[in-house]
Amino acid sequence: MRQMRWYAAVAVLAIGSVAGAETLRIEGSTTVGPIADAFADYFKTIQPGLEITVNKTGSGNGAAALIDGRCDIATMSRFMKTDEEFKKAVEKGVTPVAHMIGMDGICIVVHPSNPIKELKSDQVRDIYQGKIKSWKELGGPDTPIVAISRDTSSGTYEGFHEMVMKKQDMAPGIEQVNANPQMHARVSSTVGAIGYVGMGFVDAKVKAVRFDGVEPKRDTILNGTYPLSRPLFLFTNGYPKLGSTIHKFVTFHLTEKGQELVEAKGFVPITKY
């Protein structure tokens, strides 16, 4: 009798640990991070006992974590690189599947006191190559330009490097910060600063300029007229089992609540409703 009770206790514990300890590990982009956080918060309220961790370490780290099996979902603000990441994933038996959950525009931001309203892509490139050193050369005040970039493991950096720099090297004097919030803090507190952030990080404290004549807005980003618009991804290993928590998570952006959250974080939902 006593032994049976013991077995029952073990069984209850085992079932409890299976049901209660379901965890979802999410890692990657600091741009997509806020969306993943918002989704995670919502999932925790509708599915108590579910544990979700969201690490914001950069798209490259997300890809590496998915390949190494250290996360269930990789958040990425760029696609996986074919020659490095995809190849390595396949070699390790991981099949990366992309779920596009929204659109973002890389916004070129300056200090709100800066009178500059518009920049051309070659002007921005010249700034980051150290050829333009003062705002005076662009018709602004006589203050030195402090150009700030993201670190090289950022997906936003990759997008900027490809679409604005045309893969050319930046000047050595460019400052680097390791996350969107840091970029926001630096630009909002430095009069001569120029930087770039995901659309969700533009607010009253930093000013997004028109890029090649196009203002970063919801419709210009969605239809691709804004030159620096890009899709945001969740990557999973294979298509998740239908009905599983991972499946619900990566399709959540299609629901009304999901679209609302994407939009609340300052990004553009992909569905037009």
Binding site: G58, G60, N61, K88, V146, D151, Q176, V177, Q182, S189
Partner: protein
């Protein structure tokens, strides 16, 4: 029982109601004690070895990962050029700028921290009332316990904007900012070690100096500080290690621009250090790639520097102890 009666040593009669422990041990007990002592010794030795072993393993693994890079990439270019473009089509790894950057912030931090640290140590050991010292020294040591990310946060959010508005620097995250914060972090170490070695000198030296007519100033600067010089230098070296190995603060406060300031004395420019480069780029590199190897080679350089500094401080502290023994 019989063994006790037969033994040569006179023993009190064993009482039936309590456990009796004889002075003369049976061979079994003797062996058991011997084994226990040896086993205890071995366990403690193994525990001590884990830390020694981990140091050796760190050396082994860091060097092992760096070897392919040193073999495949020119070490001369790594050490003499400062174009660090790991993401470019033809990746280049010139680490000179980050090596110089580390040297800059470390030396500048020492320029701020050493005078403050030594003077504070002298003040605490020779000048101030013992009751004040009992309060102040633990407070200073708390400074060493503040996590570095808190310092970094202060550097970015408070010090950087302050420098921009009050000193007119174009950018507040620069070499000066990180040096100042590193100095604040190194000061407690310097004060603590220097104060220990100064107060360990004992009253004899000071009394001898006073009896020869020296003032307190002369005693302090001409007798006490020279006598404690080994300990003070060791304190400085330990503070230097704290500064050169620090990662979070320089990653947040230095601006991370891969350049050597020009003109060379202009600390208001952004720089990047070895530690920040490794911390910032390690996550994205593919294991075994050239970039990965380059970061480990930077790590080996850092290890060599800190190892040398550590050795120097050990030798100096040992010398300080020996000199004290003679006196």
């Amino acid at each position: 029982m019989t063994t006790h009666k037969d033994s040569f040593i006179a023993l009190p009669a064993p009482a039936a109601d309590r456990i009796y422990r004889p002075l003369a041990l049976t061979p079994g007990e003797d062996l058991k004690g011997y084994i226990l002592a040896k086993a205890g010794h071995a366990v403690l030795f193994a525990i001590t070895c884990t830390s020694v072993l981990s140091v050796l393993l760190i050396f082994f693994f860091v060097i092992r990962e760096a070897v392919p890079f040193v073999r495949d990439y020119s070490l001369a270019q790594f050490l003499t050029r400062s174009d660090w473009y790991p993401e470019a089509g033809a990746a280049r790894f010139g680490a000179l700028a980050v090596i110089v950057g580390s040297a800059y912030v470390t030396l500048a931090a020492l320029v701020f921290a050493v005078p403050v640290g030594i003077l504070a140590a002298v003040f605490l050991s020779d000048v101030v009332d013992f009751r004040v010292r009992a309060w102040v020294k633990p407070m200073i040591e708390i400074l060493a316990a503040i996590p570095s990310v808190a310092y970094g946060f202060f550097a970015v959010r408070v010090l950087a904007p302050w420098m921009q508005t009050h000193w007119g620097f174009p950018t507040g995250t620069n070499a000066l900012n990180s040096s100042i914060v590193l100095a604040v972090m190194a000061v407690p170490t310097i004060i603590s070690v220097a104060e220990d070695s100064i107060s360990a000198l004992g009253p004899e030296l000071r009394e001898a100096a006073y009896s020869l007519g020296s003032t307190r100033m002369e005693t302090t600067f001409k007798v006490v500080i020279p006598a404690a010089h080994s300990g003070i230098i060791a304190a400085v070296v330990l503070g230097m290690m704290r500064a050169i190995g620090e990662t979070m603060v320089v990653w947040m406060a230095s601006g991370n621009a891969n350049q050597i300031p020009s003109p060379w004395w202009d600390l208001s420019q952004s720089i990047r250090t070895m530690t920040a480069t490794v911390a910032g780029e390690m996550g994205e590199t593919a294991k075994g790639s050239l970039h990965y190897g380059a970061l480990f080679t930077v790590g080996v350089l850092l290890l060599i520097v800190t190892f040398t500094l550590n050795l120097v401080s050990e030798v100096l502290l040992a010398r300080a102890k020996k000199a004290l023994g003679k006196a």
